[in-house]
């Protein structure tokens, strides 16, 4: 009863009475005197007065009203005509009684029942039945191929449309052309001369099938296809914005994707792990055995890979933008839906409501992506076994804390604990060394909370460490608010416990979280108490020093390294309010967490935690046909250069209808039947005759189907940035086979500049494939950028294919290219002394063919006229044939 009473009363005046006051004294004045200039038709000075939110949001002069403070409220100043520059209404001052009414209303808290702004045009409701009829929302059908001629089902679907258009498919490509094409498609690398020779020598009618199986089993397959996926989730290892802060361990997500592709992890499982991997039962979680860590929880870490904001003023705006990036990528990458369009208004074309947007936003806001130990049980067992052989010294009795009235001791039981450092704390002490070794690592992460105190006093000892300005923390007790620099404390470089104080300002009344972390292999953090307080001075110093470390060299040697990764945890579940017109200054109705209304999703099914687990099943098991269709279309796009639906990230009404809708369904259906296996899907596609066609376009096709949507032949395609660079390394014999692991820093060109500029990496990237480049948002690898590497800001299912002078300049003059050319020339010369045979070998390596007589003559003449083999190699690497496939 008490609760009810407090909810109904506001200050001294009952709320119902306040509303009545508003309805009789305030609203009529606003409506008759103000709305015409500050309402739905016009918002002079950016100000509207027709809703509570708009009034609070204010206009160009700032908020129009401060509840409880009439004298500071602009609206009252304007009404009272005190300021000659601000007199409202302009036609003349209103009667004093009216102005007094406003003063009184504001003083009592300015209660205002107007949740929704006055609308000019009634919102046009979505016609759900009609909207659901859109092609991409239809269930996936099991379609039989048409009775046309054709070796595989795919060929029959393609043939049927060609027949109808009066076109005929061209002849198959030569074996060498086919192998080069498939090799770049599946591996992102040219076939090696040995692979080419073996393939050409294999007389079996199934020789191509065998070659495809070999490629699908190659670890390079995962490296190639992971890169396509990374484009979809705007993968990067820094936060961009002003300082481009580095994100520790972000590269592990890249490895997670590579492993998933190489293991042919079923796509529905892959998606489930991306949404809710951390919530799956332990027996359903996968280990990355070789790397010594859990793999599954890393998937959902993708949520936190977007851009961040440095030093923002408006933290709610930052939260809004982080959320928007998550919804945007989630919608496009998995569903091919531009859900983010519904942020400010219901989607103009697709059946996606603003409520859908905030319902999904609530799910993502109820989870937190940060760093956690993902050490495998085997690794943790090794740690515990080593520690067991070196017993801890007896824990000293903690001295009592002399807390003052109002001080609040923070309970640490709600924290998410990972790693060994804080796994078995002694009573009253978190000690990352556990009394024995600074090598131990671990992290504790609180759930979101809203600080109300101004100070956090931490009784702390250990390594002296200044908290870095990036998330997550390396060592210390640190508080994080989105968009603000973290604030933290650590020890003073010894084992003496001292009070250290964090002063809060912007964090107060924002959703924050606290981390207690020691991720340094030689770091130490001991925490006796965390006290929230409004008193600036900390409580009295208990003058306590921790006992010396009782470790040993044997223990140090026996302790394994515990891997960390960016993972997603459950946070406090929270529903969001709709933001009217997308502005967080105008909160609207509360929206229960759920998936899209289009798929009949209901909030009552989303009550379990954040709802991510339910979301993953709604995506993969529900009546949602988009997941498989969108993915199958992406794979098709990477094999043919264009998707069956060319708008690969947009299957909504503004997207393109598929050129072969039945084929798309046939593939999607087969994909699901095949257990969502990508490798089987590749096999199905590349073993078709359609894929094996040559690129020779008939004049008929050029006239009737210039964009080759009907696939009467194979399209010529420029290689993507990574394949060009990796191809150069491969041909030059400089490719380092090393897979996975920490990224290699790209070479920073002299004209790349700006804040957060990193040291330059090696010119040749240590010979590693481009997928292993460290991706810094503000310093993207220059050579990749020239060849349309996408800005990692949103889903990029389809990269641009531009032609810019920077490309030709890089190929002509960049020392990476010229040095690789020299490497290649040197190796080719050492391997083959005969000029003609050397040339043959080089053409085989670069183009998978032998030189034409005219080409041979041209090169011999070039050499004869003083040309060097380095130069020949350089020309071969930069001729268009090298970076185009047919």
């Amino acid at each position: 009863m008490r609760r009810l009473a407090s909810a109904l009363w506001f200050g001294a005046v009952p709320l119902c009475a306040q509303f009545e006051f508003f309805e009789t004294r305030i609203r009529p004045v606003l409506a008759s005197q103000c709305y015409s200039c500050h309402g739905p038709e016009k918002a002079s000075g950016g100000l509207r007065l027709d809703s509570k939110a708009a009034l609070l949001a204010g206009g160009s002069r700032g908020t129009a009203l401060i509840a409880g403070n009439p004298e500071s409220s602009l609206i009252l100043k304007a009404l009272s005509h005190r300021d000659p520059a601000l007199k409202m209404p302009p036609a003349g001052k209103l009667p004093d009684t009216v102005i007094e009414g406003f003063r009184e209303w504001i003083r009592h808290g300015a209660e205002d029942p107007r949740e929704e702004a006055v609308s000019m045009a009634p919102q046009v409701a979505i016609d759900w039945d009609r909207a659901r009829r859109h092609w991409s929302f239809q269930p996936i059908r099991s379609v039989a191929p048409p009775p046309t001629a054709g070796r595989t089902s795919i060929d029959r679907f393609i043939r049927a449309r060609l027949d109808a258009a009066g076109l005929t498919p061209v002849a198959p490509a030569s074996k060498a052309v086919l192998l080069r094409r498939a090799s770049y498609d599946l591996l992102g690398l040219p076939p090696s001369p040995d692979e080419l020779r073996a393939f050409l020598a294999d007389p079996s009618p199934r020789s191509f099938e065998h070659a495809v199986d070999r490629m699908l089993a190659s670890p390079h397959y995962g490296e190639r296809w992971a890169r396509h996926w990374l484009d979809l989730v705007r993968f990067a290892e820094t936060g961009g914005h002003e300082f481009d802060f580095y994100r520790y361990e972000a590269w592990r997500y890249r490895d997670y994707v590579i492993r998933a592709f190489n293991q042919d992890l079923p796509y529905n499982r892959f998606v489930t792990e991306h949404i809710a991997g951390d919530l799956l039962p332990r027996h359903e979680q996968r280990l990355a055995q070789a790397a010594g860590h859990w793999d599954t929880p890393i998937g959902a870490g993708y949520l936190g890979l977007g851009e961040e904001r440095n030093g923002a003023t408006d933290l709610e705006e930052v939260r809004t933008e982080l959320r928007d990036s998550r919804i945007d990528v989630f919608g496009k990458a998995f569903l091919g839906l531009t859900i983010a369009c519904a942020r400010c208004h219901d989607h103009k074309f697709d059946p996606i409501t603003t409520a859908d947007y905030y319902a999904l936003g609530g799910i993502f806001d109820s989870a937190r992506t940060t760093l956690g130990s993902v050490a495998s049980p085997a690794v943790l067992e090794r740690t515990e076994a080593a520690l067991a052989r070196h017993p801890a010294p007896p824990a000293p009795q903690p001295k009592p804390l002399a807390l003052r009235p109002g001080d609040e001791l923070l309970a640490l039981d709600g924290f998410h604990v990972s790693g060994s450092a804080f796994a078995h704390p002694a009573p009253g002490l978190l000690d990352s060394s556990r009394g024995r070794s600074n090598r131990l690592t671990g992290i504790m992460i609180s759930r979101g909370f809203v600080p109300v105190h101004r100070y956090i006093h931490v009784l702390v000892a250990g390594t002296k460490f200044n908290p870095v300005r990036e998330e997550p923390s390396l060592l210390g007790v640190t508080i994080f608010a989105p968009g603000r620099y973290p604030k933290g404390v650590a020890g003073s470089g010894d084992r003496r416990l001292r009070w250290k104080t964090i002063t809060l300002k912007e964090e107060i009344n924002q959703i924050c979280h606290l981390e207690i972390a020691d991720r340094l292999h030689d770091g130490h953090l001991a925490v006796r108490a965390i006290v929230m307080s409004n008193v600036k001075e900390p409580p009295p110093d208990p003058e306590e020093t921790l006992a010396a470390l009782a470790g040993s060299p044997e223990l140090e040697a026996a302790l394994p390294v515990e891997p960390f990764a960016r993972v997603t945890y459950e946070d406090v579940p929270r529903d969001l309010r709709i933001q009217i017109r997308g502005s967080h200054h105008s909160p609207g109705a509360l929206t229960g967490r759920r998936f899209l209304q289009l798929f009949d999703s209901k909030p009552e099914d989303y009550r379990d935690g954040s709802g991510r687990l339910k979301l993953s099943t709604d995506l993969t098991e529900g009546n949602n046909p988009l997941l498989a269709r969108v993915l199958v279309n992406r794979v098709w796009k990477h094999h043919f250069g264009e998707g069956l639906t060319s708008t690969v990230d947009n299957f909504g009404r503004t997207g393109e209808r598929p050129s072969h809708p039945e084929l798309l369904d046939y593939l999607a259906h087969g994909f699901i039947e095949d257990g969502w296996s990508l490798k089987r899907l590749h096999r199905r596609i590349v073993l078709s005759d359609t894929y094996r066609q040559s690129s020779e376009e008939s004049s008929q096709a050029a006239a009737l189907d210039p964009s080759n949507r009907l696939l009467s032949h194979m399209s010529v395609r420029r290689l993507d940035a990574e394949s060009i660079r990796d191809g150069i390394l491969a041909v030059a014999g400089s490719l380092d086979g090393g897979a996975l692991g920490p990224s290699v820093r790209p070479h920073i060109a002299p004209n790349q500049d700006g804040r957060g500029k990193p040291d330059s990496g090696p010119l040749d990237g240590n010979g590693r494939r481009s997928v292993y480049f460290e991706i810094r948002r503000n310093f993207l690898p220059a050579m990749l950028l020239a060849f349309d590497y996408p800005s990692p800001t949103s889903t990029a299912g389809k990269r641009g294919v531009s032609t810019v002078p920077a490309q030709a300049l890089a190929l002509m003059n960049n020392p990476f290219v010229t040095r690789q050319a020299s490497n290649w020339a040197r190796r080719a010369t050492a391997a083959e002394s005969d000029t003609g045979k050397r040339l043959d070998a080089m053409f085989q390596a670069a183009y998978a063919r032998l030189p034409e007589p005219a080409e041979r003559d041209g090169i011999l003449t070039f050499l004869h006229n003083g040309g060097a083999w380095d130069e020949v190699a350089h020309v071969l690497l930069t001729a268009a044939e090298f970076y185009f496939v047919r």
Partner: protein, 459 residues
């Protein structure tokens, strides 16, 4: 008889074909000159981007009442979200006087620019949306506070192409001071990469990979051999407009290798010209060179040139949270004469009529103080600030819009950044509502869903 529906389908197909044709030609010749939407008033644009935010009340917007009440609390309600606790009024340490026949008010920071007042169209009622540098920089350039949207120069070259055969269409002249937000400020976002700003450094090698490591003869011999191979490949591969473009691209790159050094070689400029830009003074030499290069770029047919603030030890950029007086004086000293020289030179050469010049920061600075004593400064202020335009199609000698008596809020004729963008595009012959690109399921514009052309600024 064809139905209305049939007719519409035909029309849509024709439109689509036209669009597809335009896209194809863009793919082959991305910078080929394109027809504007309407008759342009200017052919090229120079954007003098005053990174960090120039204080309007210290430069072009004198405020006597602010001056009188300096030290007193700001009597206006401040916006809810401000960065620092600054609510004490701070009058300008700089004196103002009237310049030109128009009598424009310009402070002692800009005597040379002031002398060109009759060419300037000063807008005192600018407003932007963001109060931190990075988002504000993105916003001033792309109409969005987010990273990854096409910059103004990208939109302009996308819409119009560029007449230069040897140089990129959108060139950014950098003085080793990339503003917060990085190179994405000049990025082409979702537009093709051909339209991204090309960064030319104020250095011996202005462009990456520009200098061949071989003699021109050897390079030419290799070019010839490559061309022979490429000719064969074009036949072998068949249908390949994109491949043709890639082959032709070597020729542009080859020409750039000599065009850029030729551009950067100012030995042919007369002593008078050098003095005009302040090249004879170490204080003005760096930015003067940028301004001179801007003119040379425009002469060579480059469509959009952007200049960035010079590096000044201790006072980089206009971001004077502290030491307003020294910092603004230092930055003004480095840029005032070169900018005035650029305006004068363009005019003398008859280029000002066809070149639109825009001078602006990403926001202004607070009329209130930050810090105290000699080190006093001003904070970021997007709620009101000043920019100016000059040249092609704008009304010279005009001071437009007004702030309140303290320079805190816009009081009349508010010009939002979206409006500025709409106006700039209009002057260049582009309709901001027609200049669109499909992204994220809709036709996206520089002005998002906003923007009104500010007609009173037009000549």
């Amino acid at each position: 008889m064809p139905s209305r529906r049939h007719f519409l389908q035909l029309a849509a197909a024709a439109l689509h074909a036209e669009y597809a044709a335009a896209e194809t030609s863009r793919a082959i010749a991305p910078l080929a000159e394109r027809k504007p939407h309407q008759t342009p008033r200017a052919k090229a644009m120079i954007f003098l981007f005053m990174d960090g935010g120039v204080s309007h009340v210290d430069s072009f917007d004198p405020k006597p009442r602010l001056q009188r009440e300096t030290g007193q609390p700001l009597p206006l309600a401040r916006p809810k979200l401000v960065r620092a606790d600054s609510s004490i009024l701070l009058g300008s340490p700089f004196s103002f006087r009237k310049y030109g026949a128009c009598g424009a008010d310009v402070s002692e920071l800009f005597p040379h620019v002031g002398a060109r007042a009759d060419d300037l169209c000063i807008v005192r009622s600018m407003a932007a949306d963001h109060s931190e540098h990075t988002a504000a920089n993105y916003f001033m350039h792309s109409g969005s506070g987010l990273q990854g949207r096409p910059s103004m120069g990208s939109w302009v070259t996308f819409g119009l192409g560029s007449p230069s055969r040897n140089l990129p269409g959108y060139v950014v002249l950098d003085n080793s001071m990339i503003p917060p937000g990085g190179l994405d400020i000049f990025g082409s976002g979702f537009l093709p990469a051909s339209y991204q700003g090309s960064l030319f450094r104020n250095a011996p090698q202005p462009v990456a990979d520009l200098a061949p490591s071989e003699t021109p003869e050897r390079q030419r011999a290799k070019m010839d051999l490559r061309r022979q191979l490429d000719r064969g490949a074009l036949t072998r591969f068949g249908q390949a407009s994109q491949m043709e473009a890639a082959v032709a691209n070597y020729e542009l790159a080859f020409r750039m290798q000599s065009a850029v050094p030729e551009l950067a070689d100012i030995s042919g400029e007369t002593a008078a010209t050098r003095r005009l830009y302040g090249l004879d003074d170490p204080q003005t030499e760096e930015f003067g060179r940028s301004c001179l290069l801007a003119r040379r770029l425009i002469e060579r047919g480059v469509r959009f040139v952007e200049l960035l603030s010079p590096k000044r030890d201790g006072f980089d950029r206009w971001d004077q949270h502290a030491n307003l007086k020294t910092g603004h004086a230092t930055n003004a000293r480095a840029t005032d004469k070169p900018i005035a020289g650029l305006l004068a030179d363009l005019k003398t050469r008859g280029l000002l009529d066809s070149t639109l010049v825009l001078w602006s920061g990403e926001f202004g600075r607070t009329p209130t103080a930050q810090g105290s004593g000699d080190a006093i400064g001003r904070d970021h202020h997007p709620y009101a600030f000043t920019c100016w335009l000059a040249g092609g199609g704008v009304k010279g000698g005009l001071t437009y819009g007004a702030t309140d008596e303290y320079g805190f809020y816009v009081a009349e004729n508010r010009v939002h950044v979206h409006d500025l963008h709409a106006t700039v595009l209009h002057l260049l012959g582009l309709d901001h509502k027609q200049l669109t690109y499909p992204f994220s399921g809709r036709q996206v514009r520089l002005t998002d869903v906003h923007g009104e052309i500010v007609r009173p600024l037009l000549a």
